[in-house]
Amino acid sequence: MSESLKACKQKECNVSVDGVCMEAIKLDDCPHFYFRLPSGEAKFEIQEDEEDQEDEEETKDEVAPNKHDDSMSLYSGEPFTIENLTSFTGGTACKSIYILGGPECGKTTLIVTIYDLLQQGPFNDILFAGSHTLVGAERRSHLSHEISGSLDPDTERTFTRQFEFLHLSLKLKGSENHPATNLLLSDINGEKIRDSMNTNATMSELERIKYAHRVVYIVDGELLGDVRQSLIVHYDVKLFIKRAIDCKVFVPTTDLKIVISKADKLNDIDVHAKKLFDMLEKAFKDKVGKLSFSCIAARPIPNKLGIKMGEGVYDLVKDWMQDNLLAAPKYERIRIKTSNRSFNRFTTKPRLNGE
């Protein structure tokens, strides 16, 4: 085991340097000792030799007895990726919510706000029933917590251009004994959204959005308030939606909501919102399954107007928990031939999100 991977919760200990516990305790017995990857993540490193090659195939979500010590791996708590999503959704019905929009328009802040509000108590009548991606949620919300040492709340940029999904299991008050609604929230990197406006090839990389339960396109309210920037905002959102429709990323069953973020920073919001919404409704009303509009202030600056954290977000989340009333298109259902030894099955085209 590389010594650089040894670590200790006690900052004064030099075990990472010299491999020796400062309390002269055997490493296996020291309650502060653990292994950390060079990236900073705390994990167990898999040895690179023949004996361990079969371990490489174990997923993070399996309890993996380790051959070199008596520990067993637990599921990672990190956001799901395309590769491991079905290991979760295969057994759990989920609703996928794709949150789109340009860089720094507030996509991740929206998700973080929902999580932070639940951490303080029920979100009106919406209750937290669990999450298998708590580590991912904590990492994203860290900069909004006092423990980060930040003086102003912030949100880490979403750097990855791959699809990642945060899981939230929610119930409504009064329905605590009913099955939960499992949401998979994906906030896609803003630069990727911007790039996808440019070519069909890059837009097609977002193809899985056509299976979404809901799509939210966030428009940065702060930019809408600037005369020049608002022209770009109008242009970009229209361009994105048009190309998404052309590339069949948005389909006749797409439930699309246009959301103006940072509404607390936008003067005359009604005027700006009406202008944008009228333009989009005229252009796309009959091109997607459902088109709707709203404004939110997920993290308003403290103000005398009494705009609270999460203003407008409750209605969004409540809507996400509703069933999708748009019927699945007929082309999605296919019959799979089976052998005489098994039951015939009629099923849909494989839905990548397990919907």
Binding site: K9, D29, P31, H32, Y34, F35, R36, A42, K43, F44, K60, V63, P65, N66, D70, S71, M72, S73, L74, Y75, S76, G77, D116, L118, Q119, Q120, G121, P122, L127, F128, A129, G130, H132, L134, V135, E138, R139, S141, H142, S144, H145, E146, I147, S148, G149, S150, L151, D152, P153, S169, K171, E176, N177, A180, R299, I301, P302, N303, K304, M309
Partner: protein, 352 residues
Amino acid sequence: MENNILVMGLAGTGKTTFIAALWAYLTEDIPEKELTLHSLVDGDSKYLNEITRQWLTCNRIQRNLKTESHKDIRMNLKVVGDGSEIDLNIPDIAGETFQEHFDIRKWSKSYDETIARTTGVLLFVSPLTPNNKPALILDALEITREMDENLVHSESDSSFEDDGAARTNETEQASTNGNSLVVEVVDKVDVLGAESFGGNASKSKAEKGSVDTELIDDINGVAAFTPYNPELTCNQVKIIEELQFIAFHHPKVIPVKVAVMVSAWDQLISPVVDLSPEDWLNINMPLLYQFIKCNSGKFTVDFFGVSAQGVDYDDENEVRRKFGTLPQDRIIIQKNHDRSHNITMPIMWVLR
């Protein structure tokens, strides 16, 4: 049927003090006992005897004692009423490996085996541990803004110098009323756990009045930025994850009974607010409370306020007064709004 009860909780949540008080109960000649000790699984009671001596003499359990005890403790108990046996498992009395489950996403095979045979859990939480729920920067900024506004208003009030004493008295009265209100709110917050103001929940009652001042200092001071580290995750999230680990990796254990043990309960008892342990959890660890309510099919939960200490060890007069009473009468167990000295109550509930 085998009864295997797991004692778990983060570091500093009162497990050791409870076990010390329980060991005293089991080994002392107390009338009308409900539980007796059948055997200690590894036969070595040195650690238990040592922590019980500390408990009897109202001394805090030494940290080196806790870390020395990183081995499992297993007691085999017998119910006096029907002779049934219970295995009480305390695999991590220091609570530190519990934290590591979240941080490094592993647990030991022996812990895994303990989980696999668990039929009930005593889950310890404490109002004295910091970071039970996250303090939001936005909330702190809002409080500062409101305080700044109040300051502006009170400054403009005191600028009226006409009407002499009458007006001055009025202002003083208003100020007094304002201060009274602040003290009352701080009292309630302290009773409730002092978490929501981001203050240090371990403050003694004498320091209550300074909570808001320190909060302002914290906001205005230069704080060192700390990048994300799983260790910084708040306690309610870590506990939820531990329960999810149990449900996900050992579905055969589910449903399981969980007695939530809110420790240091003596410090939360107040004539001002008649709080139940469930109320406390709802206010101070709301995410965990929601999770429990939404997962009643997996976890059958009840809530107990527990004070195995029974007294503030820093209060010399109170400690001296307690020496005049029987040790077991120091113990406070509260279920809903009913209190007793019966330390076995949570265990018996898990058994039923």
